[in-house]
Structures are given as structure tokens and as C-alpha cells.
């Protein structure tokens, strides 16, 4: 239940918050202290296990996705979803308390009525800061299948929620109605050939949304053209190499995550073996393709047997869109510098991550070990996987969720106090000294 199922930084980064959701339905919010460390700010139970009596289905409490809303007022808002229900939470601070009753004393005992001769209006007195999370809205009963993603529109008025076959559009203020904008459900379920894996809104253009499917395609829809977006505006798909076709090629090409770059020009997609960067203006092939763990290509059969081949890895952009990060097995995660085309493999585990320690790059070798620190493919632990990663929208701070541990790394400060430019160079040499390591208990 403590296994982290999603990690998300606050969008603006002005108030440094980081939220994680776990399999037990809990949301934990971390706040960055002035010294740069993240501490737990608030913890609350967002979802409870439920049972759908009509369909005899258990609904897990696991938090599938968290999305922060742009700031409204001093309070913070986030959307959290499990398989069926999306909830809007408000996290607010309170530092005043009302005091003074007419008919009772402060302990709550009734006063003698004869002593009550004047009316007393309660007064507010300062108290210790209290952080409260309260559910503001519950968006339920709109999805027949499991919700895999939610995404807030740049108009800050609407958001989408996607399940395996449909995408719904909601108004944040209206809980009893949503509009179905994409429906892939065929009339006959036997004709079903693909499912939606992720959907996301464009960061600036309120009418654009991208969704990817299990067949490895990503579609871009323009909501201006029509109320129903079943017809896509663009289809991003790379022609499969016929020489590489195998039983697994469709499974490994399934897109597990899609992220728009902060600039809005590129799309980042993650499939089982690679991350790809697409230019929105070029549909037929990605502009960049990075191999995450190509050495697994020969081991797909055993990965299929252990179901690992269906793992859904997430990917992330850094604040300036110059570096890409994604997770892998054996508690490794990978970073790719787009300009220098350099890449690095790092490990997030309790053994290597000492406070303030600098992470050492790892290497996985296929054949014989060349160095002491190298790890052979056969000794990779496929149970230790990093599925959920997030990069701070402005700074070089990353959050890595490995099972029930959350690791937060920061670019090490250079002597003049400025952060290093996020080159892989810096990644390798002094990037990522561990700031905090949290265990979800």
C-alpha cells in the first residue's frame, strides 16, 4: 500500500510543492524549505477502497494520477484520481481560531445561565499553523473503464480524464456533467484493436490535446474543429521496421507516457524500450530517438513471462526542454541531453543514496564487465523499477519514486551559488547530490 504510484511537482514552482500518491489512496505533499530540503507538508487519505455493487467490481484506492491546478488563492488545489473517481482537493493553511462562547466556557462546559448577562461575539486568535486538506469536488460515474490520466487545460476552466477507451472533458466547477470528446469503443468489442494509454493537454493552446494508444501511435486533436475529437488532426507514428517484426513488437511499441515540452513544440513519448521526441510539425517520424535499455531486446521473452513487458514507465522534460529523464529497471533511471546527445544512467537506492552524496553513473554491459562498477544484464533486478519520475518545472530538482521510496535529487550548487546548466556533463560530475530520501511508511 505504500508503493508510490504517481509523483507530480507543482506547476508554477513558485511555491515549491511536490505531491505523491500511493497504492493505499494516500496523497503526501512535500514542501521545500528555504534551505532547499523537502519536508512533509500534509498527508491525507484521498481515496478509499470501494465496491461497485452493480458490476461486482472492486475499485482500488490506488492514486493513478495527480495534477496540480494553477494557483487560485493562498490555498493549493490538486486533482487526484483512482480508477473511477476524480477528486479535487484543497490544501489550505489556517492560523487563527475563534474563541469565546456565550453559554459555554472554552472547555465546552455549560455556563450557569444566570451569569450570562451580556452577549459576547467570538474573537479570532492566532494559533499554530494548521494545514488542512478538504475535498472540494468529486467527479464520479463518468468512466466505464479505468482512468489512466488526467490533464488540466491551459484555460484553467476545464480538464480531461481518459480511460482505456474514452476521453471526457470536465468543467472544474461542474461535477454532474462531462462531455465525451473521444470514444474509441467499437460497436462490437471483438473489433477492439487499441486502447488509450495516456492523454494530455497542450501547455499553451487550450484546443490541442494529445493521446497515445497501445499500438504505438500518438494522436493530436484540435477541439476547435469539432465537438467530438474522434477524428484526429495529426497522427504521430513511426513506420515499423519489417525486419524487426516479432511477436513482441506491438507490445513494446505501446506508448506508456506522453509529455508536451514546456515550449509546446515537442512531444515526448515513452515506449518500452525507447523515448522519442516528436516535433509537432512532423508526423512521420520522431526527431530524436533514445534507447533506454536496448540490451533488453533479447530478453523480451522472459520479460513477457514475468509481465514486466507491460510496465508503464513515465518520462519527463527538464525546465528548459534540453534534458529528458525516464526510469528503467534495477532502480536505475536514465537522462539524455538533447544537445550533446550524451546520456547517463544513475541509480536511486538506499545503498548508494547517502545524504549530500553525489551520484555515480552506472553502466550496464551486455558481455564481459569492463569496469568494476559495471553491472551485467543478467544481474539486473526486474522487481526494482523506477516507473514514476518528475522534474521540477523551473529548477534542476528531480523526484524519483522507487517502490515505496521517494528520492529527491538536486543539481549541486557551483561555488558562485548558481545552479549549473543542466548538461549531462554536470549530471555526470556533480549533478544530483541526494537531498532527501523519503520512505513511504
Amino acid at each position: 500500500a505504500d508503493v508510490i504510484s504517481t509523483v507530480e511537482f507543482n506547476q508554477t514552482g513558485e511555491f515549491l510543492f511536490l505531491a505523491t500518491g500511493d497504492k493505499g489512496g494516500r496523497v503526501v505533499i512535500f514542501q521545500r524549505e528555504p534551505q532547499g530540503e523537502y519536508n512533509v507538508y500534509s498527508t491525507f487519505q484521498s481515496h478509499e477502497p470501494e465496491f461497485d455493487y452493480l458490476k461486482s467490481l472492486e475499485i482500488e484506492e490506488r492514486i493513478n494520477k495527480i495534477r496540480w491546478l494553477p494557483l487560485h488563492n493562498p490555498a493549493h488545489f490538486l486533482l487526484a484520481t483512482n480508477d473511477k473517481t476524480i477528486k479535487l482537493w484543497k490544501v489550505s493553511e489556517r492560523d487563527k481560531r475563534a474563541e469565546g462562547y456565550n453559554l459555554r466556557d472554552e472547555e465546552g462546559r455549560l455556563k450557569d445561565l444566570s451569569t450570562v448577562t451580556t452577549l459576547q461575539v467570538p474573537v479570532l486568535r492566532p494559533m499554530d499553523l494548521l494545514v488542512e486538506a478538504s475535498p472540494r469536488r468529486v467527479f464520479a460515474n463518468a468512466h466505464a473503464y479505468h482512468i489512466n490520466s488526467i490533464s488540466v487545460n491551459s484555460d484553467c476552466e476545464t480538464y480531461l480524464s481518459a480511460d482505456d477507451l474514452r476521453i471526457n472533458l470536465w468543467n472544474l466547477n461542474i461535477t454532474d456533467r462531462s462531455f465525451n470528446i473521444v470514444d474509441l469503443k467499437p460497436e462490437n468489442m471483438e473489433d477492439l484493436s487499441e486502447v488509450i494509454t495516456v492523454a494530455e493537454f497542450h501547455p499553451h493552446h487550450c484546443h490541442l490535446l494529445a493521446f497515445s494508444s497501445s499500438t504505438g501511435t500518438t494522436r493530436l486533436c484540435d477541439m476547435r474543429a469539432s465537438a467530438l475529437c474522434d477524428q484526429h488532426a495529426k497522427l504521430f507514428e513511426e513506420a515499423a521496421d519489417p525486419s524487426h517484426r516479432s511477436f513482441f513488437s506491438e507490445i513494446v511499441s505501446s506508448v506508456s507516457d506522453v509529455k508536451f515540452s514546456h515550449s509546446g513544440r515537442y512531444l515526448l513519448t515513452r515506449d518500452y524500450l525507447t523515448v522519442k521526441v516528436w516535433d509537432l510539425n512532423m508526423e512521420n517520424k520522431p526527431v530524436e530517438t533514445y534507447q533506454v535499455h536496448d540490451y533488453l531486446r533479447t530478453k523480451l521473452c522472459s520479460l513477457y513471462e514475468s509481465d514486466c513487458i507491460f510496465d508503464k514507465f513515465e518520462c519527463a522534460w527538464n525546465g528548459t526542454d534540453s534534458v529528458i529523464m525516464t526510469g528503467a529497471y534495477n532502480n536505475y533511471f536514465r537522462m539524455f541531453d538533447r544537445a550533446s546527445l550524451r546520456d547517463v544512467t544513475l541509480e536511486a537506492s538506499r545503498e548508494v543514496c547517502k545524504r549530500r552524496a553525489v551520484l555515480q553513473p552506472r553502466r550496464v554491459c551486455v558481455g564481459k564487465k569492463q569496469k568494476e562498477t559495471d553491472v551485467s544484464v543478467d544481474s539486473l533486478d526486474f522487481r526494482k523499477k523506477i516507473l514514476h519520475t518528475a522534474w521540477h518545472p523551473k529548477e534542476n530538482i528531480i523526484a524519483i519514486a522507487a517502490s515505496n521510496n521517494l528520492y529527491i535529487f538536486q543539481d549541486r550548487l557551483t561555488p558562485n551559488g548558481h545552479h549549473n546548466t543542466p548538461e549531462i556533463q554536470s549530471c555526470r560530475q556533480h549533478h544530483n547530490n541526494l537531498m532527501n530520501c523519503y520512505e513511504h511508511i
Binding site: 490555498a75 475563534a98 448577562t117 461575539v121 467570538p122 477541439m223 474543429a225 469539432s226
Partner: protein, 683 residues
């Protein structure tokens, strides 16, 4: 004590007894139960009255200002209350004391609360003196307009227009500047708010400033990158167009509006279509002819069904408001071709929207054009596969009737209606039945007898109960329209004839019809014609018919005179009360106790309805598979316990016993009737 020293004591001079309820109210302002807090907030005026104006200002309002942590419903009530608090703080002189709490309410995240706070602020702004307005109100608007959070800035947008007319010209300039800033705010939420308030603000501005300030803002908002901002600008454009003199419209507003009608986003075009008649009014006949007609054509042909639906809805109003001299030509040459295409649209909502207004065109076009051009379209829509489309046509037949006359209508449209009335889907038939009284009213008695009467009678023997039920109800409405005499001649003989039908369902329909018709037909027809038939049916061999006779007699009782009640009805009911079937017995007893209360006191409690109305009773009988059969049993049980047990226990014990009996009966799988004697014995 020293109460006299306290301010505001005049209201509570009567002593501590009057203090207590107020003290409770104040304490409940911070009760843990939301409902109690809400109640307390709703009585805020009582609290304020008790505290007096000074303590309200110095103590209550500061407390309320910081209470913004509360639930939305409490805040909403608070925002509403404060709008009418002026007297309670000491009149217009002190009205500015209400600004701090409303200001904090105007910054909360919940839209409804903010809107209510803004509404209250608008209200109390009128109670400010011009000086107070500049000293207190305008600074508040400025604070909100330059607030850190978008919530306060959106609230500010709604406040400019109320203070603008009443301030000095320097302050006016500042206000305009603030509004400009908000129109180019970073967040789409604020731009949306500014866009939606633009028209309202333009109304209070001097015409020169409308031209110099508002037009550029409007143009900018109408080409915003966010769809949601642009679509709100359309409405503002309509308001602005009403303010400008005709000669300026072409240069200042039309380019932007034209662009909106061809916007890439269907939502913006939808908004244009939705506001089309307002727009038409605002821009006047010349521009309508030159610009709006082609724009309207395009909207009717839009690629998005939502837009076509909105445009189709406006067809009639648009055509009606066209300038008289060229109306017919424009409709015939420009609008009608588009309408013809819409009739066979692929989207049902488009067709349905069109069907609801298309009949209105006939009055505008006159008889010849209607017959030649519109009737074929009506016919196509009447045969549409979607019932909603057909219904919309039928429900508007009267306007065509006026234009082309009944004969024409009957020849062309009636066959289609009759076809629908015999549709294989019972829901379609049901919908048609519901329109029958309307149609009858439109077509008149003569025509109805000739064409539709047989149809109405045929429904009475429909094989779907819902249709038979609707048909009886329909008969009642027809009689209401055409009168009792007509009923006696045309309907009553046919209805009564069914009493001899071999099918007991049809015989029951007779009874149901009598239930419905007795009142509208009056005493004479009921006593002379209906009653004998009902009485005769009391010897029917089917129990369902017999107990419905009992129910029917109870129903028509009030219509009959007392001699008939005593001489004819009572013996029959008494006989039914000794019937073998328990349901018949039950309803006969109920009828007797309902109609002859003085001679049947013994049955009083049965029909007193007290027990039958209890939730528990309803609970059981709604779940019970054979509820009718157990009703009498229930009575016996209640009667039994009534004398021996505390009333409040009855339902509990009764429910246990009832469940036990029910499960035993079910378990034994015998016919339920067979087991009742046993049950009685147990008791």
C-alpha cells in the same frame, strides 16, 4: 448588573430571557455542525439587531471578515446576508463597514460565493454617498483589481460598472486604466471575467470612451488565444453594437464580429449563432441584409452539428426580424435552400431544433409559399426516424393551420400523423396520444370526429397498458374540450359497449374510462348511463374486474346523488364486501368506509390511511410481491396490537411477524390465499 453601561442594551432591556436565544445563535456561528452554522448565519440580522449597530460594526463584522475558512454554503449565505445589512450597521453613513467582510469573500476560490459577494457589493455600492464611494469603495475595487490572486481580480471586473457613473473624472480615468490592465491579464480566468463584463462596463462609459477605450479592448479579447475568452467577447460585441451609432458600426465592430462568425473554434461560432437574434437587433436592418444573411447561411451549413443546432433554433426569429420590404425574397432565395438541406441533416439534434421552429415560417411566407415550399419539408420531418423531430412538428401544427386552413392540412399532414399513431413502438404511440387533445383543439370537433375519433377508441384496446391508460386520460381531456354532450353521443356508447367484451382487460378499461370521465361528464350521464353498467359488472367472474368495480364506485360516488348512492350503490358494495376474494372484499370495505362514514364506523381505522401512509408500510408493500393480498392481513395485525401494545412498538413487531409470515408463505410455495386461515389462527 452593569448592563446599562453596555452599548446596544435597548434591544434587550426585557431581561436575560431574550438574551438566551441570541446567545445560542452566536455560539452556533462556530458550531461543528454545518447546518447549525448555516442556520445561524441566515439569522445574522437577528444577531446584529440584538448587538446594536455599534457592536455589530466593531465586533461582529471583524469576526465575519476572518471567517472565510468555512464551507461554501455558509459563505454563500453570509455573502447574501451582507448585501442587505446597511440598516443594521447604522445606515448609509456606515455602509462602508460592510466592505472588509465582502472583500474577503470576493477572494475565495468558490465561484458562486465570489459572484454572490460581488452582487452584494454592487448592491451596497448604491447606498454609498459619492464621497464614500471614492473614499472607501473605489480603493477596494482597486485593491481587488491589483490583487495577487486571480480570484480577487475576477471579482473586481464586475465592480467597475457600478462605481464608474458616480465618481469624478480623474477617478474615472483610473478605473478605465484598471479595466484595461485586467483585459490583458496573464491568466485566462481574469480575461474571461473582463470579457464577460465588457458589455456591462461599456454601457456606463461615455460614448467617446467607448470608441477610444472599449473598442480596442474588444478587438483584443475577440482575438485572444484562448477560445473561452473569445467566445465571451461575442456577447460583449452585441452589447457594444447597441451603444454605437449606426455609422460607426461598420468600422468599429463589424470586422471583429465577422471574424467571430468564421472563427476556427466551433465554440465561438456556436456563441455567434446563439446570440444571433440579439446581434440582428443591435446592428439594424442594413447590416443585417449585407452581412448577417450570408453569415447566417454559413452557420446553417457549419461543419459542426452543435453550431447548426444553435443556428437552426434561430431560423424563425431571424426571418421574422428581417426588414419587411425584402423579407420574403431573402427567405426564399437565401434561407430556404439552407433549411431544405437541414431537413435531411445527419444529426438528429439539428433536425429536432429545426422542427421546433420551421412551422413558424409559414406565417411569414403566406399560404402559397407554405403549400409549395414548406409543406414538403414538414412531411419529410413528420416521417423522420427520430420521434423528437416528429413531435416538434406535431406540437406546432396550429401555426400552419392558421395559414393554410384545415382541409389542406388534413390532406397533406394527417396521413403521416395517423401513421405515427399506429407505430409499432409503443412509446411513439404514447407520445402521439399526449398530443391528441392539442391536435383536437387545433382541428375542431367536426374534423376530429371524422378523422381521429376512431383512432382514439382503438387505443383503448391497445395491448400495452401504458397506452390504454394514456388513452383514458386522453378521453377525459377531449371531453373537457368538446363538452359532455359530445361525450354522450360519441364516446360513452363505445366505452360502455366494451363492458361486454370477452377480454377482461377491455372490461376493466371501461371501468378506468368511467373513473376518468364521470366528473367531466356530470351527474346526469354518470347516473343514467354509466352507473348501471358498473353495477352490472359487479357480478363479473373475474375478481380483478369486481374489485375495480368497488374502486370505481368509490371514485364516482361524489358525482352521484344520494338516492342513487343509498338505493343502488350501497347494496352492491355490501355484497362485494362479502365476496370470496379478499382483494375484492378489501376494496369494497374501503369504498364503504370512504363513502358512508356514518354507517361503517367499525371499518374506520382501515381506511384512515394512517397506517398505510407510514414509511414502514410503504417499505414493505413496495417490496412485497403480492402486496394486495396482504393488505387485509395487515389491518388485522394492526388492530390486534393496537389494543395491547405501545404504539411505537407496533411497526417493529409487525415487521418481524410480517417477514416471518411472508417467508413461511413463500417457503411453503402454496397459493397465498390458502394460508391465510392459518395465519389468522396463529394470531
Amino acid at each position: 448588573g452593569n448592563r446599562a453601561a453596555q452599548p446596544g442594551t435597548t434591544q434587550r432591556a426585557e431581561g436575560d430571557d431574550s438574551l438566551y436565544p441570541i446567545a445560542v445563535l452566536i455560539d452556533e456561528l462556530r458550531n461543528e455542525d454545518v447546518q447549525l452554522r448555516l442556520n445561524s448565519i441566515k439569522k445574522l440580522s437577528t444577531i446584529a439587531l440584538a448587538l446594536g449597530v455599534e457592536r455589530t460594526r466593531t465586533e461582529l463584522l471583524p469576526f465575519l471578515t476572518d471567517t472565510i475558512y468555512d464551507e461554501d454554503e455558509v459563505l454563500l449565505a453570509l455573502a447574501e446576508q451582507l448585501g442587505s445589512f446597511t440598516v443594521l450597521v447604522g445606515g448609509p453613513e456606515f455602509v462602508h463597514c460592510l466592505l472588509p467582510p465582502l472583500e474577503s469573500l470576493a477572494t475565495v476560490e468558490e465561484t458562486v460565493v465570489r459572484d454572490k459577494a460581488v452582487e452584494s457589493l454592487q448592491k451596497i455600492s448604491q447606498e454609498h454617498s459619492p464621497v464614500d464611494l471614492e473614499v472607501h469603495f473605489v480603493p477596494l475595487v482597486k485593491r481587488l483589481a491589483s490583487g495577487d490572486w486571480f480570484t480577487s481580480r475576477t471579482s473586481a471586473c464586475g465592480l467597475f460598472s457600478v462605481c464608474y457613473p458616480r465618481v469624478s473624472s480623474t477617478v474615472k480615468a483610473e478605473i478605465r486604466q484598471h479595466f484595461r490592465t485586467l483585459c490583458s491579464d496573464d491568466t485566462p480566468m481574469v480575461r474571461r471575467a473582463a470579457s464577460s463584463k465588457l458589455g456591462e462596463f461599456a454601457k456606463v462609459l461615455e460614448l467617446d470612451y467607448v470608441k477610444s477605450d472599449i473598442i480596442p479592448l474588444f478587438t483584443a479579447l475577440a482575438s485572444d488565444e484562448q477560445d473561452s475568452v473569445r467566445l465571451l467577447a461575442v456577447e460583449a460585441g452585441v452589447s457594444i453594437a447597441t451603444l454605437l451609432p449606426q455609422e460607426d458600426l461598420e468600422d468599429l465592430v463589424m470586422p471583429t464580429l465577422r471574424q467571430a462568425a468564421e472563427d476556427k473554434s466551433w465554440r465561438v461560432r456556436y456563441m455567434v449563432a446563439d446570440k444571433f437574434s440579439e446581434l440582428q437587433k443591435a446592428v439594424g436592418p442594413e447590416i443585417t441584409k449585407n452581412d448577417l444573411v450570408p453569415a447566417f447561411q454559413n452557420l446553417l451549413k457549419d461543419c459542426e452539428a452543435e453550431v447548426r443546432t444553435a443556428a437552426a433554433n434561430k431560423v424563425k426569429v431571424f426571418c421574422e426580424s428581417l426588414p419587411e420590404d425584402s423579407r420574403e425574397t431573402i427567405i426564399m432565395t437565401h434561407i430556404l435552400p439552407c433549411v431544405k438541406e437541414l431537413v435531411s441533416d445527419t444529426n438528429q439534434h439539428v433536425k429536432s431544433a429545426l422542427a421546433s421552429v420551421i412551422m413558424g415560417l409559414s406565417t411569414i411566407l403566406g399560404k402559397d409559399n407554405t403549400v409549395e415550399h414548406l409543406l414538403p419539408l414538414f412531411l419529410v420531418q413528420l416521417k423522420d426516424e427520430y420521434p423528437e423531430v416528429r413531435l416538434n412538428i406535431i406540437s406546432n401544427l396550429d401555426c400552419v393551420n392558421e395559414v393554410i386552413g384545415i382541409r389542406q392540412l388534413s390532406q397533406s399532414l394527417l396521413p403521416a400523423i395517423v401513421e405515427l399513431a399506429e407505430d409499432a413502438k409503443w412509446r411513439v404511440r404514447l407520445a402521439i396520444i399526449e398530443y391528441m387533445p392539442l391536435l383536437a383543439g387545433q382541428l375542431g370537433v367536426e374534423f376530429f370526429d371524422e378523422k381521429l375519433n376512431s383512432l382514439c377508441m382503438a387505443w383503448l384496446i391497445d395491448h400495452v397498458y401504458a397506452i390504454r391508460e394514456a388513452a383514458t386520460c386522453n378521453l377525459m381531456k377531449l371531453v373537457e374540450k368538446f363538452g359532455a354532450e359530445w361525450a354522450q353521443n360519441t364516446i360513452v356508447p363505445k366505452v360502455l359497449g366494451m363492458a361486454n367484451d370477452s377480454n377482461y382487460l377491455h372490461r376493466m378499461t371501461t371501468l378506468f374510462c368511467i373513473n376518468a370521465l364521470s366528473e367531466v361528464c356530470g351527474q346526469e350521464i354518470t347516473t343514467k348511463h354509466m352507473l348501471p353498467v358498473v353495477l352490472k359488472m359487479s357480478t363479473d367472474q373475474v375478481a380483478n374486474v369486481r374489485f375495480n368495480v368497488a374502486r370505481c364506485l368509490q371514485k364516482i360516488g361524489p358525482v352521484l346523488d344520494s338516492s342513487a348512492l343509498q338505493a343502488d350503490v350501497k347494496p352492491v358494495l355490501e355484497k362485494l364486501a362479502t365476496d370470496q376474494d379478499m382483494d375484492v372484499k378489501y376494496f369494497a370495505l374501503e369504498a364503504i368506509s370512504g363513502m358512508y362514514p356514518f354507517i361503517s364506523l367499525t371499518f374506520q381505522h382501515i381506511s384512515s390511511q394512517k397506517h398505510f401512509n407510514s414509511p414502514l408500510y410503504c417499505f414493505f408493500f413496495s417490496f412485497s410481491p403480492c402486496c394486495l393480498g396482504y393488505r387485509r392481513l395487515h389491518c388485522v395485525i394492526v388492530k390486534f396490537f393496537k389494543h395491547y401494545l405501545w404504539m411505537s412498538c407496533i411497526y417493529f413487531i409487525y415487521s418481524c411477524i410480517y417477514l416471518f409470515i411472508w417467508s413461511t408463505c413463500t417457503f411453503l410455495k402454496g397459493s397465498s390465499d390458502a394460508h391465510f386461515p392459518q395465519v389468522d389462527m396463529i394470531l
